[in-house]
Symmetry: C2
């Protein structure tokens, strides 16, 4: 799929997935896209745990009321250090690094005909990130920053409406 | 350009640009890609100031020793609120939102034959973000989070080497 088409078609999918599995070769391509994202000082701070074990998917998915979690065919967990190392003048960029990787992954998912939704805030409540961390034996120094369920969408949905260009962008001088 | 090709070809370009301008229609497509990025609760928190005025580009570019800044043909400034509004259970996601938009923009830049580099940490030092904010009349409630110089690269460079898949990704159980 052409890059501008993928950018336009990417959308948050919270609905049901078909019973079709996510092919292993596709999972590898999808996560590889995340690995190729930029990161501050090329520190490559984001790691990935790909959950394709049915029992573990069920354990994670049943924590959420969303259909896309309940019948996800695979789940990608994006992992960062709880206390990320400074890579430039005392700053770390692990939040930015992870978000760039997630966006690459979402575009790859879209291009391959699957659908997903970016789950972050939900993990921060009711110790959900910690509970899922136990399921995947995550070391205490790491945390799950983002969760992405994957499957083939049953419903055809579109990207939510965005504000017009002129409401968010301008030339040479801030005038919004 | 196909999405996986763009992901693979995207790289940080710090070298010289040719004298060719960045076409206005391309700048619009590039920033539009940023507008279409996901954002927490679709809050669309990132705004963009596109600098294509030669004098302003010079004022900004000469602050940096990097060739890509000194002879940028255009500069995209990604703007966020200094004190972003909470959109979900007390949390805001403006850092994540901006990074996802930047990644879309970088892929669009790559697909159209230009090159760029993600500049963030540099802005945080020596009040550079504040100095550039003055050049574009940015309100005090906003800050420049990311800067992207753009032009047609003189040198053919490649994405920096990334760690192997198995060093950063695993299945079902954290084992890195």
């Amino acid at each position: 799929m052409e890059v501008f088409e993928a950018i336009e078609k990417r959308h948050s999918y919270r609905g049901e997935y078909t019973d079709d599995p996510v092919k292993k070769e596709d999972l590898l391509k999808i996560v590889q896209a995340g690995l190729q994202a930029p990161s501050g000082k090329n520190a490559q701070t984001t790691e990935f745990v790909i959950v394709d074990d049915r029992e573990k998917i069920f354990q994670i998915g049943q924590m959420h009321t969303m259909q896309a979690m309940k019948n996800a065919r695979a789940i990608i967990l994006c992992i960062v250090d709880k206390d990320p190392e400074a890579v430039y003048e005392g700053y770390s960029f692990s939040v930015e690094d992870c978000a760039a990787a997630v966006e690459n992954i979402m575009l790859a998912i879209t291009a391959l005909g699957y659908a997903t939704v970016w789950i972050d805030g939900w993990l921060r409540l009711e110790k959900r990130a910690e509970k899922i961390a136990q399921i995947i034996d995550l070391p205490g120094s790491k945390k799950i920053k983002t969760l992405l369920p994957i499957g083939i969408p049953k419903e055809k949905l579109h990207q939510r409406e965005k504000k017009a260009f002129t409401q968010r962008a301008c030339f040479n001088r801030y005038s919004l």
